[in-house]
């Protein structure tokens, strides 16, 4: 039987981060991944030679001394990740399709506030209050600082008020509220259900700066695999834990893999979806309270993605840009799962190098919910019904229509290379519902994070603290702090940051 210090389950950014930190600290680590390839939603795929992103399109946190840069330094991959900043305001734009209004923002937290003030001169009080509250939450969130020595993140009052209620208390202007709530697209939970605090935590770093990364999530995967090899972390793909066996005194004795192999480990850290964790636990050894807690989580929203090639004679390759189209200015309406009309559509434009030539691409993604594809849930990719193909075609056509309506100059220049529904994401990325951000981050919810159910099982990942690359990586660091003990961890962080 193979024996490890730690098994890390799932090779998305959280699993890669966790496995590497443990490996760097001389632990014998096994990293397992259900899919044939490492990377989870960091993965890209190629069609007609063009690379397209699946789950990682852009991130905040690349400017100044922030937690993301600290984390990349500690993992010593900072030099392998090249952010491409969105610097011109026209490249960070929000269009209200019905109102035919457009708002553009320059990078920088204070700059965003100033520009918001210039667009809404009569809303000064609301704007100043909103931005100061966002900043205040961020400053009080010690967990977003890997140098912090504070043991536990204290709950703030803002953790118990919804984004919707907070915005309603600040202003009556729907357009302004929608702009305040704009980065809800980056956490996957509707404004009536997420806390103001979590919205602020996600939004703050995006106000500071937005960047795409050269070669997308692939650059993280490549750099991290190289480091994992350096520290002798064993990697197994096409592998998952099928059951936890020999449970004694609330400790899992053996972790049984899908190939029948049994493995002993001091700790097992799951960075996968909470429902998938529950599946590996035997019912007779799992408290109903734990199962109820996992089953009460709801799924965040998903994205319907169109992968588009843009070609026009004499056209300059796209600079990185993010343009969000809102059908109208009522945010609560178009985030409502019951709503039937158009939902927010984000266009991520950039150019990729294909055979030494720059090709302009647009990743167009529209917010969607699982209910939309639920009827085809039993089908597998490549073998779905005609109805489903029609659904996909209709979605794709509507997305293109909306793009051309807002950008008439794009007519005859866009070619849809492929499209992906939540089912596509489910089947390729092995998440149970193919959502964008794991479980919804609902107010008052206790996520699966830290030690769970058995003494040697732990949970981290994007459902654990906050979604997105930042939240997922922070969850990995926090788990390692616990596993390594806080003194060892503090020394390790200090040493790596000094180098």
């Amino acid at each position: 039987m193979e024996i490890y210090d730690d098994i890390v389950v799932g090779s998305g950014i959280s699993g890669l981060t966790t496995a590497l930190i443990l490996g760097m600290n001389q632990r014998k680590v096994l990293l397992i991944e259900k899919a044939p390839k490492i990377g989870g939603s960091l993965s890209r795929f190629y069609k007609k030679g063009i690379p397209f992103d699946t789950g990682f399109h852009f991130s905040g946190g690349f400017s100044k001394d922030t937690v993301l840069l600290d984390m990349l330094s500690v993992l010593s991959i900072k030099d392998d990740i090249h952010p491409e900043f969105i610097s011109k305001p026209e490249n960070n734009r929000f269009l209200f399709e019905n109102q035919k209004k457009s708002f553009m923002f320059s990078p920088g937290f204070d700059q965003n506030m100033k520009e918001m003030l210039s667009y809404f001169p009569n809303e000064e009080k609301a704007i100043l209050a909103y931005f100061s509250k966002v900043k205040d939450v961020r400053e009080k969130t010690t967990a977003m600082n890997i140098r912090s020595e504070v043991e536990m993140q204290k709950s703030l009052d803002e953790d118990f008020i919804s984004l919707k209620n907070m915005l309603d208390s600040l202003t009556k202007d729907k357009t302004l509220k929608t702009l305040f709530g704009a980065f809800s697209m980056c956490h996957g939970t509707e404004p009536s259900q997420i806390s103001f605090a979590n919205h602020a935590r996600v939004s703050y770093s995006i106000y500071e700066s937005i960047a795409r990364v050269k070669n997308g999530g692939h650059s993280f995967i490549k750099a991290l695999i190289k480091k994992l090899k350096k520290y002798d972390v064993k990697i197994k793909t096409n592998t998952f834990i099928s059951s936890c066996e020999n449970i004694e005194k609330r400790r899992v004795g053996t972790f049984v893999l899908n190939n029948g192999e049994s493995i002993k480990a001091e700790n097992c850290i799951f960075t996968i979806h909470p429902e998938e964790i529950l599946k590996t636990f035997k019912e007779e050894n799992t408290s109903k309270a734990f199962a109820d807690r996992v089953n009460s989580f709801e799924e965040s929203f998903g994205l319907f993605l169109c992968f588009i090639k843009f070609s026009k004679k004499g056209h300059q390759p796209f600079d990185p840009a993010i343009i969000t189209l809102y059908p109208d200015n009522d945010m609560n309406k178009f985030f409502d799962p019951e709503y039937k009309g158009d939902r927010p559509l984000v266009l991520v434009q950039n150019s990729e190098e294909v055979k030494k030539e720059k090709v302009s691409v647009i990743n167009a993604f529209e917010l969607t919910y699982w209910d939309e594809v639920k009827q085809w849930a039993d089908s597998k990719t490549g073998k779905r019904s005609k109805d489903y193909e029609i659904y996909k075609q209709n979605k794709t056509n509507r997305i293109c229509e909306r793009i051309i309506k807002s950008f008439p100059e794009y007519k005859d220049c866009i070619e849809v290379i492929d499209s992906a529904s939540m089912l596509t994401f489910r089947d390729y990325l092995n998440s149970p519902y193919g959502s964008a951000y794991g479980i919804k981050q609902k107010i008052g919810q206790f996520n699966l994070f830290g030690r769970i159910q058995y003494k040697n099982t732990f949970a981290a990942g994007q459902s654990a603290i906050l979604p997105g690359v930042l939240g997922a990586m922070v969850s990995g660091f926090t788990i390692c702090r616990y596993l390594l003990s806080k003194d060892v961890y503090a020394k390790f962080i200090k040493k790596e940051l000094e180098e």
């Binding site: 109903k288 309270a289 734990f290 008052g444 206790f446 769970i452 058995y454």
Partner: protein, 84 residues
Amino acid sequence: MSDQIETMINEVFEESFEIEKDQLKPEANIFEDLGLDSLDVVDLVVALQKKFKVEIRTDERIKEIRTLKDLCEFIKDLQAEGSH
């Protein structure tokens, strides 16, 4: 009122942790007598939150709870705070 809280707390232990009714005495220690582990505390909090429809924040007072009676007092306090 307090009897009702006690009954509801007992229901949580029976339903969510499958603990026999005759073990559920007010002076029973949640960990030593009823066999819960510190691992179960968050699951317990979530179950209580749902049962009583109260908001339980990560609260210093939770750490002081040992017996079913302590838990009953804690819930009573929470409900009183909520009704201000």
